[in-house]
């Protein structure tokens, strides 16, 4: 009823080419941004910021990067955790070794390190694909795990192997409160999401999608597979790298290589698949789902047990959590294999044709 494009006529080529061609979408996005930037900081508690909002914003960014590679270019990667790690340690090394290094360039340089790493480990994609590639990208994961654990140069020779950053500031403002951290991550996320959205609807994005759908056919019509695949690896690992640097700098503060283990890669892949492959929106929805679900289960299970009058220990809770998490993922894949973004699209379509759905 409210969501339809009737009467919105495009009179210029530009108007036809804009990111959100429907006026209601534009209003919705502006409102969403307003709420996220101005509304949330007033309502959210410290716990909300630390446990949900900051991880969500950073993970949404990482999921965006994974989605470009997996969802748009069709190259399954299980090495996303490694790209995050390279971004984090790259940024850390620039931040700690270069005197007076500002935060933002350090983060971006960390992203560039991840880009180089991503292109290097993207090379096998020119030769192998599908599940073979998925396993091949695990090489990146285990290599990075080993590198940051054993090569002491990357961790500035700290004996414990754990590194930390402090005294973060951006343009003179200290990033010490949760609100400022949240706003900083959110601004970066908005910029990168805009960038990604524009990339995927431009020429390069179409090349990626052509490669995803059928790479031989794409090569036949004149798309260079090498350029398309490696550019997807480069862009995706840059975004994942920046997200990894943020995760380490802003969310963790001090971290060890274990923070970017293969579990992190799996989690990221879950996010894009549950959210919806090949959709920017999907990355956000998936990240929200995967971040909130464990917290929800963690709070909800003891409460439920309390109602039933059973006292359950924390190990039981964590095992049950694992079971429910696994079962929910399977259930989700069965009910909606195209992810939350598909549900969103179905909802929008229903609204468009309401009340005459034929």
């Amino acid at each position: 009823m409210f969501y339809r494009e009737n009467g919105q006529f495009k009179t210029s080529y530009q108007a036809d080419q804009q990111i959100f061609p429907i006026a209601q979408d534009r209003v919705f996005v502006v409102l969403l941004l307003l709420v996220a930037f101005a509304g949330v900081p007033f309502f959210a508690s410290d716990y909300m910021f630390r446990a949900i909002l900051i991880p969500f914003v950073i993970m949404a960014m990482a999921a965006l990067g994974v989605n470009i590679l997996v969802g748009y270019c069709g190259q399954i990667s299980l090495g996303s955790g490694a790209f995050m790690a390279v971004g984090a340690y790259g940024a850390y090394n620039f931040f700690a070794r270069v005197p007076d290094m500002p935060l933002l360039p350090a983060l971006l340089l960390g992203g560039l390190c991840a880009t180089a790493f991503g292109i290097l480990f993207g090379l096998p994609s020119l030769r192998v694909r599908g599940l073979y590639l998925a396993v091949a990208t695990l090489a990146a994961q285990f290599f990075a795990d080993w590198m940051f654990l054993r090569v002491k140069w990357f961790t500035l020779d700290t004996p414990s192997g754990s590194v930390s950053v402090s005294n973060l500031q951006i343009f003179g403002f200290p990033l010490d409160s949760d609100v400022s951290k949240y706003l900083f991550c959110l601004s970066l996320l908005v910029v990168i999401a805009l960038l990604a959205k524009n990339l995927v609807r431009g020429a390069i994005g179409r090349e990626w999608m052509a490669i995803r759908d059928m790479d031989v056919a794409a090569a036949v019509i004149g798309i260079r597979p090498m350029y398309a695949k490696l550019s997807a690896f480069a862009v995706s690992s840059f975004i994942i790298g920046v997200a990894g640097a943020l995760w380490a700098f802003i969310y963790l503060g001090s971290w060890e290589p274990g923070a970017f283990s293969v579990d992190q890669s799996f989690r990221l892949l879950f996010m894009v698949i549950i959210g919806g492959l090949g959709s920017i929106m999907g990355g956000f929805l998936g990240a929200a789902f995967i971040i909130v679900l464990p917290i929800f289960l963690n709070q909800f299970l003891p409460m439920l047990a309390g109602l039933a009058g059973v006292e359950i220990s924390t190990t039981v809770v964590s095992h049950t959590e694992l079971m429910i998490f696994g079962a929910l993922i399977v259930w989700f894949l069965i009910v909606e294999p195209h992810g939350l973004a598909k549900l969103w699209a179905i909802g929008k379509q229903k609204m468009r044709v309401w009340p005459f759905p034929y």
């Binding site: 997996v70 399954i76 096998p124 030769r127 192998v128 694909r129 599908g130 599940l131 073979y132 998925a134 396993v135 091949a136 695990l138 090489a139 285990f142 290599f143 795990d145 080993w146 654990l149 054993r150 090569v151 059928m214 031989v216 056919a217 036949v220 293969v262 799996f266 892949l269 879950f270 698949i273 492959l277 190990t315 039981v316 095992h319 049950t320 959590e321 694992l322 079971m323 429910i324 998490f325 696994g326 079962a327 929910l328 993922i329 399977v330 894949l333 069965i334 294999p337």
Partner: protein, 309 residues
Amino acid sequence: MAFFLETLLGGLMAGMLYSLVALGFVLIYKASGVFNFAQGAMVLFAALAMARFAEWLPQITGLSHPVLVNLIAFVLAGGVMFIVAWLIERLVLRRLVNQEGTTLLMATLGIAYFLEGLGQSIFGNDIYKIDIGMPKDPVMAFENVFPGGLLINQEDLIAALIAALLVALLSVFFQKTGTGRALRAVADDHQAAQSIGIPLNRIWVIVWCVAGVVALVAGMIWGSKLGVQFSLATVALRALPVVILGGLTSVPGAIIGGLIIGVGEKLSEVFLGPYVGGGIEIWFAYVLALLFLLVRPQGLFGEKIIDRV
């Protein structure tokens, strides 16, 4: 020379153990096109079941004969794996027919989480022992050939023998029995197999069962070596390079891939490791597999991938 041979032998035996886990992957992938990430969780689950049954049996029934207890525990754990396989087919695979490979992969990851949680809530999360009476002492061999002889770990030797036996049994099962033939038909072409009256669902249950039993044997051997604990689930990650090296669709590939990876890992760790800080076993296996893939993208023995538009 003797040291080199010792390392080589150690690698070959470790490789046999990897092949055992890799076999589970290959069986399921061949018959249903599912890349089963839950194989590691299945190994953990089966080993936990067996360890705890072997512990509970004497307490409940008063049996004390170790061989008998282990045998009954093995059969019971096999039964549990059958139920798991049946439930997976019934509740998950049947509903995901015709989905893409990635979706199925994610579903098996979900199953892996579920099994890890379930196994630990039913059977507990401590470190348990499986004692199937394997001799722990190393023996010397070929003392008259080399000065000092070769030090061979008996436990590894027996484990490798069990693995070889299992592989032989599986090949007989696949080549000579009616069910095995049906399994191969399904692996070749789902639709054609269905059209000549092979029940796909039952075949899938059987294949997951066989994979469950393979996981049980793998879990038993790994468990008696390392103790049954959560880290057993990560054995699957060690076996992945084996699978892609040998080819996802080839049983002999899993064996030979396992041997190559086992030897490569050990030799690299001993001769290359000291120069770069050690601990390179895990990623070296992957890089080795990757190098093979660059030459043969379908793995050593995999079916040739043909591109058609």
